[in-house]
Amino acid sequence: MHPTAAVRARSVTKTFGDVIALDGVDLDVAAGQIHGLVGPNGAGKTTLLGLLLGLAAADGGKLEILGTPVGRALAVTGGVAGFVDGPGLYPTLTARQNLTTLASLRGEEGGRSAAHVDELLERVGLSEVAGDSVRGFSLGMRQRLGLAAALLGDPRLLVLDEPANGLDPAGKRQVHRVLTDLAASGATVVLSSHRMDDLASLCDEVTLLSEGRVVFSGPVRKLAAESGELDYRLVSSDPDGARRIAGGTPSLHQVAGRKGSPKGDDHALVVRGPDQALDDLVVRLVGAGIAIRELGPVVPPLEAAFLALTGADTDADTYAEELTR
């Protein structure tokens, strides 16, 4: 036994014809960590997850999974499980049959296997529909069953592509609990998601990919800091007074609302500035007897960082022209 990274990638490249899916990707995922992969469509997330699952081989670079170097040939490393592009389930089988056939494929049979399957169905909240054909399952139920299937072999590295897709809030909470329990037991989870709030609540670290390259990798709080100055939306009891005071607050800019903001939102004020200037604004508003009904970022910090780092916030439609003080 020795401490090691669950995943270690150095300058990994992967191309499909003329398309460069991964371009010199470096990645370190410590054991026992939940690591998020995030990026716009076509950034290379699924390709990277596929490499971890052994579904494809890298064209260049070095990749170590659970301490084992991965070669150029297709091979699945022991202790790795998961799914990409949705879980692989057989609609003609019931939820329990999907798991028991998979368990028997792994050599688990008999009463112990049945108990294990029942325990997994319970963990993902599908006990009540265990005998139902998967054909009638919703996307969220399929996702949860796929997670249970991935957990069958007690993986040390769980690789999941968009596991929260189609989940209702209760289902999402259940899946999050399963993943955090798994990480607490020492297993590593690498997952991709478009939901920045999911990543923020679940992941220790995230890696942001854009056009096959890593543009950020590190703790979630550090990613939030990459967002720079954020736009804040202020709703007060006296919009005109608030606008006047904001105009007089040093280092604070008033910003026109986003195009497409909700109707009837004319009384809201959008401002941008450092945290200190915002604190100053709050003090001034309170001093002037103006009640603050709402104050929060227009775009959550992680989403703002995502947009900033991937260059997706340069769209001319994103912001209207900035107002001068």
Partner: protein, 453 residues
Amino acid sequence: MTAITIETPVRVEPVALSRAYRFELVKLVSQWRIRLVFIACLLAPTIYSAVVSQQTSLPADALYGRLMNQSGWAGSLAILVFMGTLLLPLLTSVVAGDIFAVEDRLGTWRHLLVAVRSPRRIFASKALAALTVILALLACLVASSMAGGLLSIGSHPLPGLDGHLIGSGELGRTVLLAWLTIIPPTLAFSAVGLLGSVALGRSPLGLLMPVALALVLMGIQVMPVPVALRVALPMNAFISYRGLFTEPGQLGPFWIGLVVSLSWAALATFLAYRLFVRRDFTDLANDGSGRRFVLEGLAPLVGLVAVTTVVVAATTGATGSGIEKSKLEAALSTSFSNLYVLQTEQLNRPAVTAAQLHATTKCDKGGERVEDEGAGAGWRCTVNWTLPGTTATGNAIYQLDVAPEGRFVADGDGPKEVNGFFQVRTPTGDAPNPLWQFDGVVDLLDPVSKGQQ
């Protein structure tokens, strides 16, 4: 964060073939389509055989169809004829033609690859599972077809395709053997199903590849193609069992059919395997590549047809259509003699043997302007025979409809008391006249020279 140690993993071995095979079998049998096919194979032949054998109008187009009301074994043989046309290719399409494509439709390739960890074992387990289900379906067909006839009519002797009487026990064994002979061509079509399923993914053409192949081969078989090409096609192996119903048996087509079928099965399976292990499993929308299928799937099979045709032609020396006047005359003389013996017994006349009749036949196809060779309905034959102790010569006329694969239907054209009426009056009542209409077969590969009988 607390440092966590992990064990150095070893690269895991792929899942055992037996487990992967069982996994594939469970998936196959869980499909409602396969279950329906099983039920149909268990019930349909029994019902068909039991119902049709009680009718006055019998399926005379099928070999032994006209005898379904005389012996329970005839029903099984009539169903065997249908198997070799489109039914078995259709069964292989439903099972083998879909076994790879279903993973494309469900998008489960990645899941399967992670679970089994070896494309080779996935291929082997799928091929074996498909083969198991196809053979199980075939077993259901055999049992069901026999049960229907035997339960409704019973086990009675039948004349062979040369007219000699086959007793019940021997007939049962021969019918079972006949069903066994269609296993090799079934394997060939199953392998083609695997090839279509691998090569064309979700495309419907991949699923229907065995049926498409059967249609093409049937199209070739109804044409006047050289006999070497005819017997070098796997479709011909479906009818090679006919040689088991003559004495001596015409086993040449069976052995050639066996070798041809196994060659097709081996080559098509290898081509499917090669395409499978080279495919890109990351492509979720795989519909196969038509160009790749033609070059790496179809072309080698066409090459196999060419090679087997040349080998058959070289080893047997068979040329032309294989249907020659002398062969027909010999076959008709033999059949007539054997069936005359049966009729004699029916009519309670003094016993006679086939050899004592010294039957000879003269055949002509379409008059003097048409060459006496090849398939067609224009054959007219006259059989002459003499009874022991007499000098008088009897003669009977037959119209022959000869199919390109060597089967002929002899239709009696008189005299009425010999072969002109469908019944004969026996001491116990009216009975079917064995000389009125009967099926026969000529060995296309028999090198009988013209004029020899």
